[in-house]
């Protein structure tokens, strides 16, 4: 290799060397010390071309398959440690991108390796006198921060939506405690108080801390007994709403302080899973406080939790904490006694002695109806009237006002149950991020009001309903469900315009944490989302590659617009995330071409001739062997589809085969059976295969690109 070209070398030489380097990289399959050493040597001998080599290396890390990313990263690591500048400069620039892109795509084991590697980058290279770290801290730190965020997101995802939005369930107390305002305080009030004290002592913690907080008796009461402030204000309980802003600021500060403390701990001992989880929870909490409006009760609770954490870094108990919050906020008959709680609602609903609007509803509210309602509740939505009617057939004949009472009732429960979520957040922070919902049921959203205080609750609710404050009650996120089922319902009224609904943002931002770093597009953290993002990144890559290819980009021209029929038949989809199967299915469904190009869909559900069929090439697949005639198929680029396709191909039994072969098989065998097999292979496509494949109707799309309106266009020339 004529590496010794003069400095300021011609880019041609750079390119050549970079290509060589790239080829060697591609051969790197695993953690092979020899090969990595060899690549490092090449890099060392060609520092003049460091820029090109760095670029190639970055590209390789970005594009190679996830299992090969780690070896490639080891090459990077080896180069920066053994060669140093200028590679550290070049690779440092995009290090964040390089590292994080890889990190998001690899498995847990590799991630741990990467984290270990990252750690060494903060330190000087061993055996060298120089004391500077491998990469300067301002390069490594953003990555570390991102990793923390990343883990937070992971924890969140495992935990589901629930923990992300503690906002809408405000206090632990079931609604009956509203009764305080209508009736003198009863025994019921005291229960959580004792419960809490006991729970503190159970943990063996000093009651002093409790005393620390007890100098804010009003705040405490507020936390324990008040319903959500937004509901109180109109009723004239200003005392409930005292200085939430100040509280918020204080709490934010506290959270930040504790988070910093944990961060330090974490930095000292990055493999301590518990610290990490706590940190995750704290960061999450911080974000919550920044983005969402918490009511006073929840805030108070957050504060308590935070001060608990601040005073006592978690004792080194081997078993996870039994979630103090759980005990605190449950009335004494707590978790194990869920069944009574679940069965309570019928009683509650049917015994409102002095709640006139509710009374008429009592006789038709049988348990079945209520379980329907609860199912609705579990969905985390304030049920609309039609929904309620559907869910509870017994409600069919209910008047609207009756229903709205029930709606009010049901929709307040989550709101009033509030801080359980904070509790569960803490709990989840302390527990491993496993799907724990089965083992430890969360405090139920359906906690039912004991009958004793139903009366006053109903009064308040009734008056709330009257004063029309329950328009769009903020809905709790409910059980972890896909974003679209947790969407809040916003009625089309002027009244619902002004309320800020963070849950709408949640659907746009937090529920889709997986962001494309090029265009900012977001994807859900689910498997589907990850697959879509992988395709999306691949699309960016392909597009950029083609745009860099001047022979393609130079001759570009605008297409004619489509005519009406084409436009009507055109099925829009996102070419960057649509997989071959999706596109085929969509085409089959709509009987139109999925071409995103200007050529558009070609009129109608016509059969295509075999050689005109195509299958979009799955990302990364350029060659394929037809499993019928065992001939090789190569993908070609379709301008029309803006994607790589296999022509003369169909998907059969999950494999891409020659369309003509498939047709032959079809002719030779039982048509019906094959058709169904083929349909299965096409992922539920509904193409009518029984039509003669060689039908004269077999107008085809690529032609159709010129055909359709284009048929006459072709004539024009």
């Amino acid at each position: 290799m004529s590496a010794r070209s003069p400095r300021g070398s011609l880019s041609g030489v750079s390119t050549e060397i970079a290509e060589d380097f790239s080829d060697s990289l591609k051969d790197l399959q695993g953690n092979n010390k020899f090969e990595i050493g060899n690549l490092t040597l090449i890099a060392k001998e060609n520092t003049e071309h460091a820029q090109a080599i760095s670029k190639v290396l970055e590209d390789h890390i970005r594009t190679t398959a996830p299992p090969r990313k780690l070896p490639a990263l080891y090459v990077l690591d080896s180069i920066v440690k053994n060669v140093g500048t200028p590679y550290t400069v070049y690779l440092g620039r995009n290090l964040y991108q390089t590292f994080m892109d890889a990190y998001t795509l690899v498995d847990g084991n590799t991630r741990r390796n990467m984290e270990g590697m990252l750690k060494t980058w903060k330190e000087p290279v061993p055996g060298i006198l120089d004391n500077t770290p491998v990469f300067p801290p301002d390069i490594v730190r953003p990555i570390e921060n991102a990793l923390i965020k990343f883990r937070t997101v992971m924890v969140q995802n495992n935990r589901g939506v629930q923990a992300q939005q503690p906002t809408y369930r405000n206090t632990p107390t079931p609604p009956q405690h509203n009764g305080r305002y209508a009736a003198p305080p009863s025994q019921g009030q005291g229960q959580p108080y004792y419960g809490q004290v006991r729970s503190f002592s159970e943990q063996g913690e000093s009651p002093d801390r409790w005393a620390d907080q007890s100098h804010q008796p009003s705040a405490y009461q507020q936390r324990t007994f008040s319903p959500a402030p937004q509901y109180q204000q109109p009723l004239g309980f200003p005392a409930q709403n005292q200085q939430p802003v100040n509280d918020l600021e204080t709490i934010k500060r506290d959270v930040a302080a504790v988070a910093a403390q944990r961060q330090a701990q974490f930095a000292a001992n990055p493999y301590d899973a518990k610290t990490r989880q706590e940190l995750d929870a704290l960061l999450q909490l911080q974000r919550l406080l920044d983005t969402q409006v918490l009511d006073a009760g929840a805030l108070q609770q957050v504060q308590n939790q935070i001060s608990a954490l601040a005073v006592a870094p978690p004792p080194p108990q081997p078993t996870p904490q039994p979630a103090p919050a759980q005990h605190q906020w449950q009335p004494p008959p707590s978790i194990p006694q869920l069944p009574p709680q679940f069965s309570a609602p019928p009683v509650a609903y049917s015994q409102p002695p002095s709640a006139p609007p509710q009374q008429p509803s009592a006789h038709f509210l049988d348990p079945a109806a209520l379980s329907g309602l609860q199912a609705l509740l579990a969905n985390g939505q304030k049920p609309s009237t039609p929904q309620m009617r559907a869910a509870a057939p017994a409600l069919q004949n209910a008047s609207h006002s009756q229903l709205s009472n029930v709606q009010t009732q049901t929709s307040t429960q989550p709101t009033i149950n509030g801080a359980d979520l904070i509790a569960s957040l803490t709990k989840n922070g302390l527990l491993p991020p496993l799907p724990t919902s089965n083992t430890t049921p969360l405090p139920t959203t359906t906690t039912a009001p004991p009958p004793t205080q139903q009366q006053s609750t109903a009064d308040i609710l009734a008056s709330l309903t009257k004063s029309n404050l329950f328009g769009p009650a903020p809905t709790p996120p409910g059980v972890p469900t896909p974003a679209n089922t947790a969407r809040p319902r916003v009625p089309m009224t002027a009244a619902s315009l002004k309320t800020f609904r963070p849950e709408l943002l949640h659907a746009l931002y937090t529920s889709q944490p997986n962001q494309c770093s090029t265009c900012g597009r977001r994807f859900p953290a689910s498997e589907v989302g990850r697959a879509a993002k992988a395709r999306h990144l691949d699309w960016h890559f392909r597009t950029n590659q083609r745009m860099a290819d001047s022979s393609i980009a130079r001759g570009a021209h605008r297409h004619w617009f489509g005519n009406e029929l084409e436009w009507i038949k055109l099925v829009e989809f996102d070419p960057s995330t649509t997989s071959a199967e999706d596109a085929a299915a969509a085409e089959a469904r709509h009987g139109a071409s999925g071409a995103g190009g200007g050529a558009g869909g070609k009129g109608g559900k016509k059969e295509m001739r075999a050689e005109e069929r195509y299958v979009r090439a799955p990302p990364g697949v350029t060659r394929n062997v037809c499993s019928i005639d065992f001939e090789e198929m190569k993908s070609t680029y379709s301008e029309e589809l803006q994607d790589w396709v296999f022509t003369n191909a169909v998907v059969m039994g999950g494999k891409i085969v020659h369309a003509s072969c498939a047709e032959e098989m079809l002719k030779g065998s039982q048509k019906g059976a094959m058709a169904s097999a083929l349909q299965g292979g096409l992922g539920g496509q509904q193409r009518q295969r029984s039509a003669t494949p060689d039908s004269a109707l077999g107008k085809r799309k690529a032609e159709g690109a010129l055909a359709g309106a284009g048929a006459s266009r072709a004539r024009m020339e």
């Binding site: 300021g8 916003v490 659907a507 570009a556 004619w560 099925v571």
Partner: protein
């Protein structure tokens, strides 16, 4: 050992970006890069003219422009835009380049309302999806005076809907500003892929790769500056658009559930006509929600008309949406430049997606040219006639008195610099209605009319000729003199 890497870090990185066509802020601008911290629910408003380059990068946090989220650490370049980077969660921006004005906007109540409108539409879409044989998703009409943020609202709603997995259909009824098409058009597009921060709806299909996915519009020709010039023609175009859109939504379940949003020019806010055009749109598109911006009177009038007691069962909710405090008036010069830019980009593309237009010289005999008569055309031609007295080859005003809306004409110097719509209908077509309603296949720019040799040179976006097609031109958009050469 040579250490080229020790030169200015950053420059090498940028040079690798030049290939992708992004504008690289020059060194001077780099030096003036400044940072701004935005609190949650505030926005950074900026007005950048067409000569200026303005670059924004998000260092931390999240932010969006017209509902499209910006990626972190990506430089976004703006020119010829009045916009606002809004943040829900707070963010830190790095800003470089120059702008006519830039400031931090704290008054952002509008954003909450807009988000709630999005929530309403989501609710309606969810409902539509759960009732497969129902009426489909929300069909929204947005009305209000000019420069109150109608298009911004629609872009935000579209971006949010797409982010939530829907494919809303957008109809642009304002011929002054094109949507995926040059001015003088009325277009409809079903948005199936994400919007771009810098380019909004992006680009209509081209033969090569594009930075963001292409979007294919259906385009009709509306050669008037305002619906008031020819209200009846405007209405018939709307009817035609409604027909196509309705058909499209019936074809595609997802599009149907995603619904429809219609943008309108400020001229629709016209009490004198008793909002005749608004009423027309409402019935043609079966509108299910009307959003009004900026005019309380309009809002009240529409509420009375569409959702008052007289409306009965057919009542349509009319909501008055807060106009964004940052909505800025675009003066005539800005609009003119915007239109010129749209026309230029139709042929030449943008810096990111450059295109090659093609030149076609066609004999008079092979052309079928129609002129759409209108007030603005008469005015334009009168003024050019008075300015250019020496040119007495044609008698400009005599034919203008014609009562015909569309008139078959032979090519003339009047066409120079104008956009001519190539319609799908045949050139032999004699029916004025067909000429009027036929969809547009593309636009050609008249770069030369040689009356001696009886031929016209066109600039066309496509290498193919268009054959025997009717071509129509009118008073809008105005002639652009400097498009070629």
């Amino acid at each position: 050992m040579a250490l080229p890497g020790l030169s200015l870090p950053g420059l090498g990185l940028q040079s690798s970006h030049i290939a992708s066509g992004s504008n690289v802020p020059n060194a001077a601008a780099q030096q003036t890069a400044r940072q701004e911290d935005l609190a949650p629910r505030t926005e950074w408003r900026f007005e950048v003219n067409f000569q200026q380059q303005y670059t924004i990068r998000i260092l931390s946090g999240n932010a969006e422009l017209f509902g499209v989220e910006l990626a972190s650490n990506q430089p976004y370049n703006f020119s010829g835009i009045k916009g606002a980077i809004f943040t829900w969660q707070g963010c830190r921006l790095e800003i470089s380049g120059e702008a006519e004005s830039e400031y931090l906007g704290q008054e952002t109540d509008y954003a909450v309302e807009w988000l709630n409108v999005h929530g309403m539409l989501e609710t309606a879409r969810d409902d539509a999806q759960s009732t497969p044989n129902g009426d489909g998703g929300p069909r929204v009409l947005v009305v209000g005076p000019d420069y109150v943020g109608k298009s911004s609202l629609i872009r935000s709603l579209t971006a949010w809907a797409v982010q939530s997995g829907w494919t809303p259909t957008i109809v642009n009824g304002d011929p002054r500003e094109g949507l995926l098409a040059p001015p003088g058009s009325m277009s409809a597009v079903t948005v199936g892929s994400w919007l771009s921060v810098e380019d909004g709806y992006g680009i209509s299909p081209i033969s090569g790769p594009t930075v963001s996915p292409v979007k294919a519009p259906l385009v009709y020709h509306c050669p008037y500056t305002s619906p008031t010039e020819k209200p009846e023609i405007y209405k018939s175009l709307l009817t035609r658009t409604a027909l196509s859109v309705t058909n499209k939504l019936e074809e595609n379940a997802l599009a149907k559930h995603s619904g429809l949003i219609i943008d309108t020019p400020g001229a629709l806010n016209d009490p004198r006509s008793n909002y005749a055009t608004v009423a027309h749109i409402v019935s043609e598109f079966s509108i299910s929600l009307i959003l009004t911006l900026g005019s309380e009177r309009l809002s009240n009038d529409l509420i009375r008309r569409f959702s008052g007691t007289t409306a009965g069962a057919d009542a349509i909710p009319v909501l008055r949406i807060t106009k964004p405090a940052g909505a800025a008036e675009k003066d005539a010069q800005f609009m003119k430049q915007l239109q010129n830019q749209q026309i230029r980009q139709y042929f030449f593309g943008s810096s990111k997606d450059p295109l090659n237009p093609h030149s076609h010289t066609i004999a008079f005999a092979d052309l079928n040219i129609w002129r759409a008569n209108s007030r603005s055309l008469t005015q334009a031609m009168n003024s050019s006639a008075t300015m250019d007295d020496s040119d007495d080859d044609y008698a400009p005003t005599s034919s203008m008195g014609s009562s015909q809306d569309f008139e078959r004409v032979t090519p003339s110097q009047e066409m120079l610099g104008r956009l001519v719509a190539i319609k799908f209908c045949a050139g032999s077509e004699t029916d004025e209605v067909a000429i009027r309603d036929s969809a547009v296949m593309g636009f050609a720019y008249v770069s030369e009319v040689d009356e001696g040799k009886k031929r016209v040179r066109f600039l066309s976006p496509h290498p193919q000729r268009w054959g025997d097609r009717a071509m129509v031109w009118g008073g809008w958009p105005e002639a652009v003199v400097d498009l070629v050469g």
